[in-house]
Subunit: 96 residues, 2 copies
């Protein structure tokens, strides 16, 4: 299993638009992507500009398929102008 | 519910010691801390120095009690000399 934490810093005036686009991505991903165990959008309680995806995938192949999906590409294209500064994504294995 | 992502950058020679201390913290937390829904230790698949806690708590009170617990304080005391550089912790609410 692979766990992903993808943290984004969103422009102040784009928060609503980002949440809308990410919500659509979450729905499409849960519905369509094989191997998706968890796919959530969360928002930092202190800084609403920090919007993060918390994900769990069965394996590398399912994660790669997700990255190549039309709904993922469409969301990335829409989101790129909403980004304030580069975020960071980590891909994790569970130790305990 | 509150979700926590607590990311740590650990010194190369302290990775094993950190994993041991964090494993003990995970066990104690799961056993003793009311309101703990999830408490996991994960390791970045590309950079083993990045060791992160992925947490879910019922509410602010349970998270505060965890922070005040003897096992948490003991772990923080042991871990502080293992840290390479400041990490970051985010406290999240779930949007979807």
């Amino acid at each position: 299993m692979i766990k992903v934490v993808a943290k984004n810093y969103i422009k102040d005036e784009k928060i609503t638009a980002f949440v809308e686009a990410a919500t659509e991505l979450v729905k499409q991903t849960r519905e369509k992507d094989t191997g998706c165990i968890r796919y959530e959008l969360v928002q930092d309680m202190k800084d609403p500009h920090i919007l993060t995806m918390l994900e769990e995938w069965e394996d590398q192949a399912s994660l790669a398929d997700h990255g190549a999906s039309p709904h993922f590409k469409k969301a990335m294209e829409a989101m790129k102008e909403m980004i304030e500064k580069p975020g960071d994504s980590n891909f994790y294995k569970t130790l305990i």
